[in-house]
Amino acid sequence: MTAELVRVDNVSKVYYQAGLLRQRARSMVAVRNVSFSIAANTVLGLVGESGCGKSTLARAVAWLDPPTSGRVVVSGIDPGLRERSQMALFRRTVQIVFQDPYSSLNPRQCIGESVAEGLRNQGVPRDRRRREVARLLDMVGISPNRASERPHRFSGGQRQRIVIARALAVQPRFLILDEPVSSLDVSIQAQIVNLLVDLKRELSLTYLFISHDLNLIAYLSDEIAVMRDGTIIEQAPAEQLIAAPVHQYTRALFADAPVLPEPRSRSS
């Protein structure tokens, strides 16, 4: 196999519910000692029931909600070092796409601006930004003419395309996809998934694909990790895990598929 791009080491995330005056701090461990690595140009599928800590892990890896302990290294960049240059580099390398396309775009910003945000942050001049936005929109199948429109004029699937374009603007190498299609209609889901597959190939991307949809995970992933109660209980190459799950829970999970009831909740 090819070289390792992403390395997640013993990552834990603990939430404290401490007030100024509360005597005992109550803590809640959302993610416990999670480790995995992802090889370049592969997809790691992360599967688990809602509330098992998938999204928390996604945010921790993206360093949006930094982990309480543990390390994340992507392409040799460690954001935990708190170095300015490292952080900027990390932000260019790692991007994240969320589940809900409706709240993933600022309703008061036209989509062109949204897509250009990463470029603007890098100080790309205006005219090059515009060309770049057009290219990105075109790439995800949105007419560049509509760059000046506000998000409410687009459907859910179109918005998710725009969100993906926005993430790709900074030319990342690693994309965290947190249930990117689960709030879309089935027909649209397929389009977006195909888009993701195409993009991965064209841009040689690496994905952490989070979902509760086992079929989707099975279809996309090179390797699958199963998460439960904040820990990864089983991780193996896709075919192997589907064919011969070791863990009891995994077996149950795949036995019940595809009827995994999962409400559309953003928090986990």
Binding site: L64, M87, A88, R92, Q95, F98, N106, Q109, R166, R266
Partner: protein, 274 residues
């Protein structure tokens, strides 16, 4: 919502906007449209009833023209409302954003201070503040601004806490957008409807507090034409010159009425737009 109520809402929206717009025009153009100098005393013409001797709304205890004082009073009112709310918004914005974005300890400390300000009756607090810095409109505006800042701070903090968890803000952070741009592009524009509605309501509150302070004699300084001060002086002549209490009272009431109405309707409309 039926068509009739839609018309109803639009009608009142227009009414309040027209009134407040007219008020702004009057405030700016007061020197040109007022029939007399609002400070000019004319002792022999004291207590002229409305409509006589060229005093359209009568004259006060020094023979000053009530209409002119009322028109110039719009200046004080708008100045107080505008400055107080701008100040409250400014402080509330800084405190609210800081509390919402910084960690728990800072948040708790700031909100403790804001609660401390809120846990004291407005008028009493305003009087205390004004006693420290001296009587007068600038001091009153400052006091009101400071006292009402927790109202904004709380709204902005709550909005910040919600918005900063929104995916579009999270992905902006993932894109490396600097904090100031997150605040100006992603946070503030999206809390604007609530802030605007709160602004108009707070203008109304500020007017009432200013009038109350002036009524208690710690607000506007004579001979400043201020509606609250006019009411204070009028209470001594209720039986001989009732018009002195009537017009400024109506002016305050109408303005407060329209500000509140505007705030409510804006809130309603903006909510529906979302």
């Amino acid at each position: 919502m039926t068509r009739r109520t839609e018309i109803f809402v639009r009608f009142f929206l227009v009414v309040s906007v027209v009134y407040l717009g007219a008020l702004v025009v009057v405030a700016i153009a007061a020197p040109h449209i007022a029939p007399a100098d609002p400070r000019m005393q004319n002792i022999p013409a004291r207590f002229t009833p409305p409509g006589t001797d060229g005093f359209l709304l009568g004259s006060d205890e020094f023979g000053r023209d009530v209409l002119s004082r009322l028109l110039f009073g719009a200046r004080s009112a708008l100045l107080v409302g505008g400055v107080a709310v701008a100040l409250a918004l400014g402080i509330g914005m800084v405190v609210g954003l800081t509390a919402g974005l910084a960690g728990k300890v800072v948040d708790s400390a700031l909100m403790l201070i804001m609660d401390a300000v809120l846990s004291f009756p407005t008028v009493l607090l305003a009087i205390t503040v004004v006693s420290v810095f001296g009587y007068g409109l600038p001091q009153v505006m400052t006091a009101i601004g400071v006292i009402f800042s927790p109202l904004f701070a709380r709204i902005i903090r709550t909005e910040t806490l919600t918005l900063k968890q929104e995916p579009f803000v999270l992905s902006a952070r993932a894109l490396g957008t600097p904090l100031w741009r997150i605040i100006t592009v992603h946070l503030v524009p999206n809390m604007l409807p609530k802030i605007v509605a709160q602004c108009t309501v707070t203008v109304a509150l500020a007017l009432v507090v200013e009038a109350s302070l002036s009524f208690l004699g710690v607000g506007a300084q004579p001979p400043t034409p201020s509606w609250g001060l006019m009411l204070r002086n009028a209470r001594n002549y209720l039986f001989d010159a009732p018009w002195l209490a009537l017009y400024p009272g109506l002016a305050i009431g109408l303005t407060v009425f329209c500000c509140n109405l505007l705030g409510d309707l804006l809130g309603e409309l903006l909510q529906r737009d979302q």
